[in-house]
Subunit: 767 residues, 2 copies
């Protein structure tokens, strides 16, 4: 292959480095007003009265939005439960819930106006933790749930509704008979784990510009899901899809935070009231109060044979979903489906819950529930190995699913060699030569840990559409609904088109994303861009190629099989023409064009109980060497080895960069990221207080291995990646810390205080 | 039919009446500069030196463009001859030729800067009239013609190149042997006619906004031909088509003036220099110096039998093309092809010339050369009838082509009943009861005249593409490259889509036109929108319908033949669903969409010498009753009857309005429109001096008859219209004036001075 498998310069590289790349926040429209929102200072309260008269009196204010004039067709929205409002109507449900918005000719005026809005609250008792939310008689975050829609994939599981309660969503996944499995086991071990709530922190906070132009609403937004945003806006405003344009320029990182409605609804309402374009840009602090990763509490009980063979596993996963469902139900289902890990276990029963609390709403986050459960099952497996006196590498090798084995009945079989991967990371970290986890007298204690995890990737039932247009001058325009969120998708797509059309990538450009014109897509998530959309891109390019070859055959008066495409030239017998020449001769002076269309969707087999199979398995294997400072409890990662399977690397450097980025995300959650609350108030919701990985937090050595197993549904066997690398970090690091200090910590982040306390207690399993 | 043939409210009516419809000139972009151009005060001169230092010193000037920094890839452009420059380089060729342009933060600054640009000229002898331009030793407007490309349709004619000379283009059309025909005739009559140069005067002058954004050039422009403009801009700037976006919002009238590059090249150059968006908006006065209708001098010699049967016709057509070719060659070819009129004439020889002069460039204008030659042949026929003592209605009926007869060998046969049409207009005007053209003593003299004309319509070899998208909510978006120039095309298209999808037109919208996304089209001209593009729209709607029926069949679990669409409902047996319900059930939760594609092109038959046949025959029949004031020479049209054939009226009120508008255009040219020069200076290039029809110029009675002969290639047999009505006005009015005053005027406009002079000379054929 000439264009694929090569690390060509990123197409968006130069303009991004030069600061020329345009983002939604760069858009300036004539007469554009700036908006600010008023947020609740209370975690749970009924709104008695909102008085905005003092704000309205401020010169420069062009629109005020509160529940009192929020006369849109449908105020509530939400992908799975319509539990969220554009602005709070009856209640506020967390500190940061939005109550009012103001658009003004200058941002400072909007800010001042916001301060002049008086709200009278009736404070209500609140719940913050899973335990509080589930305790009998707990106050309800939502008295009633409307517009409930379960995630669309059965996954061999069932959805159980509990109402009224704070259980937003409950998924059960079952295989064989877990009770019988436990009875036939030699040992049963049960452990409980906790995983933090992290902030996505994309460099670009949520921002959109909305403009009503007659009956058409145009919204420029930093969104990972332009088409679902269109759908929600159309419903909210009672507009047909044909009257809503969602335009997405470059997006400065998403990681799951930018799915669904965020700023768009408020900006559009204000624009309609003000009769001018309105921009609503959240600050980084507001992003902290918008969406986060769900905090998790997980219990795993495993029945094993003496030799370490797994027999049965019972999992209970509780995710703290915060005040609104968001994509929480989907995360909960995925977390539950994956909770038993990539192991051969005959009997499985998992219950997975999303719980409403009066905290920041939680939803999609890189890994989509995977990091939480992987931390649980990969720490648990080490604990089982220790209890049985088996090497934890060996117990993994014994139970790991082989390529071709089923993760769940009817689902896509495991599509790569996990054991080979584990062997590779173990060797790279020096597993054989590690010391036992014994108390050692050194101040700086070293340890080694490994972990293996998988997640089903590529989304479910995701249709991908792409269009490849060959213009009359031989230049090519690619159009897809995938969003360039920084992952390098545009470059990879151009490589695929270049490969299929046998032309240099420079001859190809990517069209701006506009839901009026761009073929439909469900969203840029689940590592689906290069893999799933990539296949649609490949098909569109092949369709264009077929049409082009027909045109060339007519021009050369030859058979199509006599035409060769090579490096942007069209060759027939002795003759060589450019694409331009062929196009212009074929279409004569009519300046015609060729449109190739591509559609791809992983096929559904109605006979399989699962519903929709997983497009591919995204894997994350990790090995860490850490150093723990026994005087401070500080954990330092000296060496980290990450391994994933790309199926086929379209752009190797970008693949490695994605895996590195994912590993660093995992590192943050393993060591220090966590949203800390006190009485419902987020204590560290700013970059001053919230600890993100910095350059000097990076391991001295960070290695990424990328397998090319060829097992994916993407172009040339490609699979999605970029989430896999996050999965194994926390358990690998936790296992390494145990190896170093001979203390088992069942929660992350491994903050120094907790580690020091563990080191200074009697040896045993803490937490 | 439920949606077609009905005058539904115009989709753009409300927003246009309310002033909300947006035009290119309404666009405001952040940092946008305004441009002004410097125009030549001399008709013909070599440019010695351009000094813009005083302009550059002016605060607020952001870019200056002259030949000295016009370093674009290709400065010259032109559809048929690349004889025009973005700005004049070596010479200026008419008063108004553009020499320099300035962009500044305010328009007034740009205007001031323009005044500060000093140009040193070396004046050259000039030619203004056809006679001057063709006289031996005449100065050449262009010393050399480059990039010559003949119009693409042979039309049974040949192109003859004369170089070096002021003949820009020469077309010859021949049938049988005209000399032999003359020899076998009983009489031979030869007459010469003149037709004025008119201004299109669209309400919206030429305007565009250009923006270079990185390597992509976006241009918002008031253009009838967005795709050809893209092609020219791509060539000029050396950009691939994929890097040029031409976006066309509503256009405030075109009439042929807005084809090809006008303001776009300068705006784009200035934008590149200034690094910001630049708007160049011409004033109405500048529009007068940009493009006009070619002035014509025509001689027709006809050989007839005693009974009035035509035997042979020799035509010579000279069009004053002004300083640049523009679309003049195509107009010249069409004028030549049609010069013998819609009559059965065995022997024809026509020579048609486009002549360069040092006047405003001439090009496409409503009627495309048709009004000029129709005035000639329809006045000529009355003069022949008078000489032979035959009723001029009868001589027409004797020689008119019947439906199915050929206008020229291999071309589409006449597709409607011209004789029935002529009978109808003659009856409506009261032909039978008219007085003879005798000198009568009344001060106010009344007369009646008729005329019959045709033009080949729909363009030639014009490929039309359309896309119809059914969104997941059942709303429909139509995308075509046709421009809404005020003709009501959007409404007609929606009716066609509504008819084909059996849904209310309100459910359908039209997408904004953007060459990046919109399927290719050659331009909105030649009455081709409803007819040719309309057929592509119909096909796209049918394609979408087919796909939708398949989806509905799957939803109902029924055969496609069991599904009926009716008033936006989908009916199968007893069940009724909305489009939305079918879409959502078929695509389940995936929010899919259906794309229908339509392509239409009148097929070319390679075996026919003609090349490309005419898609249809656009007809214009007129009958006028006039009153001439013998004291002032003023001509007043009391009653005008216009008749055309729509094939099938999609929107009857719009059809009548188009025909009325065309007739009023013709009225202006018959009575007073003319661009008057003195020493190369246009004397009446403003609305103060140029006389356009006003409301009180309208006839007291204006009737439009529209036949529905069903013979067109458009949807349901529709043909194009909107140009036909202009063709017959000048000859019908001239013939009526002759009937009133017994004086023959062989030129229009019939200005009072000329009419008074004719009335006060001895009776005879003037001019």
């Amino acid at each position: 292959m000439k264009a694929v498998g090569i690390s060509i310069p990123r197409v968006d590289g130069a303009e991004k480095v030069a600061g020329q790349a345009l983002y939604a926040g760069d858009l300036q429209l004539p007469g554009m007003a700036c908006a600010k929102v008023l947020r609740s200072p209370l975690p749970h309260a009924r709104i008695r009265r909102i008085d905005s008269t003092r704000a309205a009196a401020l010169a420069g204010v062009v629109a005020i939005l509160t529940r009192d004039n929020l006369n849109v067709a449908a105020n509530s929205f939400g992908a799975y439960v319509r539990d969220q409002q554009i602005l709070a109507t009856d209640k506020v449900r967390y500190v940061g819930d939005m109550i009012a918005a103001v658009a003004a000719v200058e941002e400072s005026i909007a800010e001042e106006a916001i301060k002049r809005i008086d709200v009278e609250y009736e404070e209500l008792p609140a719940v913050y933790t899973i335990e509080e939310a589930l305790s009998p008689g707990a106050p309800l975050v939502h008295e009633k749930l409307e517009g409930r829609k379960d995630p669309h994939y059965g996954r061999g599981g069932t959805h159980i509704v509990h109402e009224p309660s704070n259980i937003c969503f409950h998924f059960r996944h079952q295989r064989a008979d877990v009770e019988e499995g436990m009875r036939s086991s030699d040992f049963i071990f049960e452990d409980t784990f906790s995983f933090p709530s992290a902030q996505h922190y994309p460099m670009e906070p949520h921002v959109s510009v909305a403009q009503f132009d007659g009956e058409t609403l145009s919204v420029w937004t930093a969104s990972q899901s332009p088409f679902p945003v269109r759908q929600e806006l159309a419903r909210i405003f009672g507009l047909p899809f044909s009257a809503v344009r969602v335009i997405v320029p470059y997006v400065g990182g998403g990681y799951g935070a930018k799915s669904g409605i965020k700023t768009e609804g408020i900006a559009a309402c204000l624009s309609r009231i003000a009769g001018r374009p309105v921009r609503l840009a959240f600050s980084a602090e507001e992003t902290f109060k918008t969406i986060c990763q769900p905090r998790a509490k997980m219990t795993i009980k495993t029945g094993v044979k003496k030799d370490g063979t797994f027999v049965a596993r019972r999992c209970e996963v509780y995710l703290n979903g915060g005040a609104y469902a968001n994509s929480g139900p989907s995360v909960t289902e995925k977390a539950g489906y994956r909770a038993h890990g990539p192991y051969r276990i005959p009997h499985v029963l998992t219950d997975s819950y999303s719980i409403y609390t009066n905290t920041v709403p939680a939803g999609a986050f890189r890994g989509f529930g995977g990091p939480q459960v992987a931390f649980a099952y990969e720490t648990h497996i080490d604990m089982i190995a220790e209890r049985l006196g088996i090497d934890s590498y060996e117990i993994r090798m014994k139970n790991l699913l082989a390529r071709g084995e089923s993760f769940a009945e009817g689902d896509t079989p495991i599509d790569c060699d996990l054991k080979a991967g584990l062997k590779r990371v173990a060797e790279a970290i020096g597993w054989e030569s590690r010391d036992n986890a014994e108390e050692n007298p050194a101040t700086k204690k070293r340890g080694i840990g490994i972990a293996t995890a998988v997640k089903d990737g590529g989304g479910t039932n995701k249709p991908a559409n792409a269009a490849v247009k060959i213009f009359n001058d031989g230049s090519v325009l690619l159009s897809t609904g995938s969003v360039e969120v920084g992952q390098g998708m545009r470059t990879a797509f151009l490589q695929v088109v270049a490969e299929e059309l046998s032309m240099p990538p420079e001859q190809i450009r990517v069209a701006a994303l506009d839901t009026h014109y761009t073929p439909f897509d469900k969203g840029t998530n689940a590592s689906s861009a290069t893999s799933i959309m990539g296949q649609a891109v490949l098909k569109a390019a092949r369709d264009a190629r077929t049409q082009f070859l027909q045109a060339a055959a007519a021009v050369f008066r030859a058979g199509e099989q006599e035409i060769k495409l090579e490096d942007g030239r069209v060759i027939c017998r002795e003759q060589r023409l450019s694409f331009r020449e062929v196009m212009q001769r074929y279409f004569r002076d009519t300046e015609g064009e060729i449109w190739g269309r591509g559609f791809f969707k992983v096929p559904r087999d109605d006979n399989v109980p699962l519903g929709y199979p997983s497009p591919f398995w995204e894997i994350g294997l990790g090995a860490a060497e850490v150093e723990v400072d026994s005087e401070t409890g500080e954990v330092k990662i000296l060496h980290y080895v990450s391994l994933t399977d790309a199926g086929k690397m379209i752009h190797p450097i970008q693949c490695h960069a994605q895996d590195e980025g994912a590993a660093v995300f995992g590192l943050g959650q393993a060591l220090f990221e966590d949203l800390v609350y006190q009485d419902g108030q987020l204590l560290n919701g700013s970059l001053v207080d919230y600890r993100l990985p910095r350059f000097n937090d990076l391991p001295a050595s960070l290695t990424t291995f990328i397998m090319e197993g060829g097992g994916g549904p993407g172009p040339y066997g490609a699979k999605g990646m970029g989430e896999g690398g996050i999965l194994a970090v926390a358990p690998a690091v936790g296992n390494a810390v145990h190896n170093a200090i001979a203390r088992r910590l069942q929660r992350v982040p491994l903050i120094p205080e907790m580690v020091w306390n563990a080191m200074n207690t009697v040896k045993g399993l803490t937490d």
